[in-house]
Symmetry: C2
Subunit: 289 residues, 2 copies
């Protein structure tokens, strides 16, 4: 039985909606596994300024996961922002440290960790990113912030939203020294870029439950030299990942990115190494394959 | 195992300090007994306005226990105040109802309930209250707010702080129709009032751990016609209660008042009848006899 007392520390996800968040299940399982006196809840938040005032005033609050629609607008309300989170312009994690609110972005670090644990080679490689939304932005800056000796050679962004895609590419070029190309997501552009890239990261919602047969990457362009990561994690094995596996590619499931952003949060809040296997098991039990 | 998920509702005590609060243990045991999806934590709070902003903004917050030093100063920050709590001028309970903060005082209702469950006759009786602090104030108004057909005949307040005692007596006289007398706590006054009263309520901290041999009521004045309630609950059986039992009085332990204020809170937050036995057992296991 979980023993809660006057010293129990609270973490929570804030967003709107949060009712379907898996974060309480993952983090509570991890706290219990390590016997840490923490609980993790979910708070639907409309007034961000009120929520932030509460974070400062209510003792025993230790940390927050920040999700849609608050990841960008919370930044000016915090006391310190980690440099990568500041470049990305979005925060998914808050640590409450002696009344100070410190923002960081473990979507970015989690994506890198998922790629590395999935044995994707990054150093000197060319990466193709499909999509240019919030997740793409976090991953692009995570890749760009790696120190040059282990950094990728170049990034190509293909997407259907011209303004968003061009803005992301320009931001990464301006704020970092990474070589970035971009263009509309046509079959022709996909085919050519996939031939020249070693890593493909799919960052759009296409293929997510219930439209599980969809994929924006034609199966015929997938070749064994590619490592393919999908940010979609429901279902666990998307159509894209099935196609990639069938084509002989190395694959990394979206659940790994979700898992590693949660691990990053857990370790920031507790200072302890997260029990990854327990957390992965909770996630896997929540989705169909 | 307590299952916490995105729908779990949070209650907490706010005060300063709160590290030794028993409320988390009592309320969590009660939530678990009834299988309610709630947790109860303790938050040390310095900035009350920030805490209140957080209560409004963080979804899934359901209720708060308010303790020293915030019971009085929180009143202007709330949206609605129960009439008894407003008369007393202090709130120990907040219910968050669709974003509105509603304050009430279960110290008052809990004291009445402890007296009644302890089979103290109140209707038409004379009550002696020793002490004039916050607890005395809550109990005095609770007694005064009972409807006249079942109300006590009169209240005498004896205490050592002249200003506090006179203010309390004047407040009760002005705001209610209860007959109230007051005076300094001398042996002579105690002896005379105890002879004429049927109920004695001890509302000072005298006798609290570690000074467990102390009592401000001389044992020789205790007679079998008295029902004696002590607000001190650590130790469970104070010197006063031991003396009263030896003199043949009916006795009501402070733990019963503490228990019933918690029961009142639990029922306001959950709408369910509280499991009093489970809550009492948690309390009893926390103190020596």
């Amino acid at each position: 039985m979980l023993s809660i007392n006057a010293h129990t520390r609270l973490c929570a996800v804030i967003g709107n909606p949060v009712e379907h968040s898996l974060s309480p299940a993952i983090h509570n399982a991890a706290f219990q596994k390590l016997g840490l006196n923490y609980v993790y809840l979910a708070f639907r938040v409309e007034s961000l300024s009120g929520a932030v005032a509460g974070m400062r005033a209510l003792g025993n609050l230790r940390g927050f996961s920040v999700t849609i629609p608050h990841k960008v607008s919370i930044i000016p309300l915090l006391d310190e922002i980690d440099p990568t989170a500041r470049l990305i312009g979005s925060v998914n994690t808050i640590v409450v440290e002696q009344g100070k609110l410190i923002g960081s972005n473990t979507d970015a670090s989690g994506a890198l960790r998922a790629l590395k644990e999935g044995r994707a080679m990054l150093k000197g490689q060319r990466v193709l990113m499909v999509g240019s939304g919030g997740a793409a932005r976090a991953i692009a800056f995570a890749l760009a912030m790696e120190p040059p000796p282990i950094r990728i050679e170049g990034l190509t962004i293909l997407g259907i939203l011209d303004d968003e895609r061009r803005t992301l590419a320009a931001d990464v070029r301006t704020k970092t020294s990474l070589r970035v190309e971009e263009g509309p997501m046509t079959d022709e552009a996909l085919r050519e870029t996939m031939r020249d890239s070693q890593v493909l990261i799919h960052c759009t919602p296409v293929g997510m439950h219930p439209k599980v047969k969809d994929s924006c990457v034609p199966a015929k362009f997938l070749e064994p030299h590619l490592t393919v990561m999908d940010i979609v994690y429901n279902p666990l094995d998307t159509q894209l990942l099935k196609d990639a596996k069938a084509a002989g590619c190395r694959t990394i499931r979206g659940i790994e990115m979700f898992l590693h952003q949660a691990i990053g949060q857990f370790e920031l809040w507790t200072g302890q190494k997260a029990p990854a296997d327990v957390m992965r098991a909770v996630l896997e039990s929540s989705f169909s394959r």
